[in-house]
Amino acid sequence: MLKFLIYAFLFLIAGILQTVIVPHIEILGAQPSFLLILTVVTALRHGSLAGCFIGFMSGLLCDIYAPIEWLGAFSLAYCAIGFIIGQVEESFINLSLFPKIIVLTLADFLKDAIYYFSIGKTSDDIPKIVYSLSLPNAIYTVAVGTILFYLLSMKTERKVEMYKQGP
């Protein structure tokens, strides 16, 4: 229950960051996706069930701010990302920092691929979209995600050390 509340709170924070702060910190049109980072972190830590649920909620939040005719596209993309990364977590229990960054990068591109496929973009549009939107956003998201992953790994290491030292 406590974990659920913590993740609900993190979701609230990520949602606020995504909708209020991100427009002010964009660089040359590139914006980081805090909701994607939350989805990836949740999926890596707690598996596919939590990953796909948080991903679905994050996608729904994005859908609300996206054009109404594409409702469901983001939720599908984020949900799929959460589930797939959850499977990765289950297969490789201890992911160090570098693989996590690779996972985040792939997740970003995969999310965009699912989203643009869902809203009916043709394969002719994809290279242009990847070059002008996906790539800058992915770079920014990965940069922010790397910092957060690093902070989380430090916290985990501290916990492990404390556990090793004993009471």
Partner: protein, 273 residues
């Protein structure tokens, strides 16, 4: 019953996949329904599941907008205040120039030239000011300088495009004056501390409050220009001469424009020019 138990067991074993499939189905359902139903779902989500994030987001955006609007209004307010101040300044200037025009008509006997005060000497007691006209405007040494309020002084040095005016408050300046009421003669001069004084005969009919005007006897100032008001008089009947304090009608601190009368001195003391 056995089948139901079997389904429950599978769901528990693969609950992640089951939830995923359910959520994917719901996402696809949302994509393929009519727009009005999509709108209903979005409204429902905003009023229930996303009510809190939406409220916090709206509140933060609102605060951001208020802050932005506040900055904009402050800027606008500063600009308007500046405009109001400028308008007030123009109104005062307009009033002053109107008075100067009247003054010009009053001094029709002499050609009058309007000058701007462009500098003060930096001494503790101002004794000279710099005006914006010089030889190029036919200004020459000894020309009287006035304002609508009263006498200021005389031109003491002339350059091509500016001149220096020796004020009445200069200790080296002595002006012959006459009481407007009793026509008693006296001389106005300045003490070293900047106080203006009048020297009169001890038996003359001069009282505090009398207005003093130029007598026209000095050869520099024409007759009848207001100089000051007697503020204090200490008569000493045992002495030939008595002294009093006067307040100048034109305070030096508030000088902005002045008139120079193009009237050459009737005579100049040798070596003064």
């Amino acid at each position: 019953m056995k089948l139901f138990r079997y389904i429950v067991r599978i769901c528990k074993w693969a609950r992640g996949s089951v939830v995923f499939v359910a959520l994917v189905c719901f996402s696809l359902y949302m994509q393929f329904i009519q727009i009005k139903h999509k709108q209903n779902i979005a409204d429902f989500l905003l009023s229930t599941v996303f009510y809190l994030p939406q409220s916090v987001t709206s509140y933060l955006i609102h605060i951001g907008n208020i802050s932005e609007e506040n900055t904009k209004l402050k800027k606008e307010n500063a600009e308007l205040k500046l405009k109001v101040d400028l308008t007030k300044e123009y109104a005062i200037e307009n009033e002053r120039l109107k008075k100067l025009l009247d003054f010009e008509r009053h001094w029709d006997n002499f050609p009058i030239f309007l000058v701007q005060i462009i500098g003060y000497n930096p001494e503790p007691y101002t004794t000279t000011v710099v005006v914006s006209s010089g030889k190029a405007d036919s200004i020459s040494y000894g020309m009287p300088v006035f304002t609508t309020n009263g006498l200021v002084g005389k031109v003491s040095k002339v350059f091509n495009h500016h001149s220096m005016v020796q004020l009445l408050s200069d200790p080296n300046s002595i002006t012959s004056v006459v009481s407007q009421r009793s026509r008693v003669l006296g001389t106005v001069f300045s003490r070293d501390n900047g106080d203006m004084q009048i020297q009169i005969s001890s038996y003359s009919d001069l009282v505090a409050g009398d207005t003093l005007v130029t007598s026209g006897f000095g050869g520099i100032y024409p007759k009848g220009i207001p100089v000051g008001v007697v503020s204090k008089l200490e008569k000493n009947n045992s002495e030939v001469l008595s002294y009093g304090s006067i307040d100048l009608l034109q305070p030096i601190e508030s000088l902005e424009e002045a008139f120079i009368i193009r009237k050459n001195a009737d005579w100049i003391v040798w070596g003064e020019e």
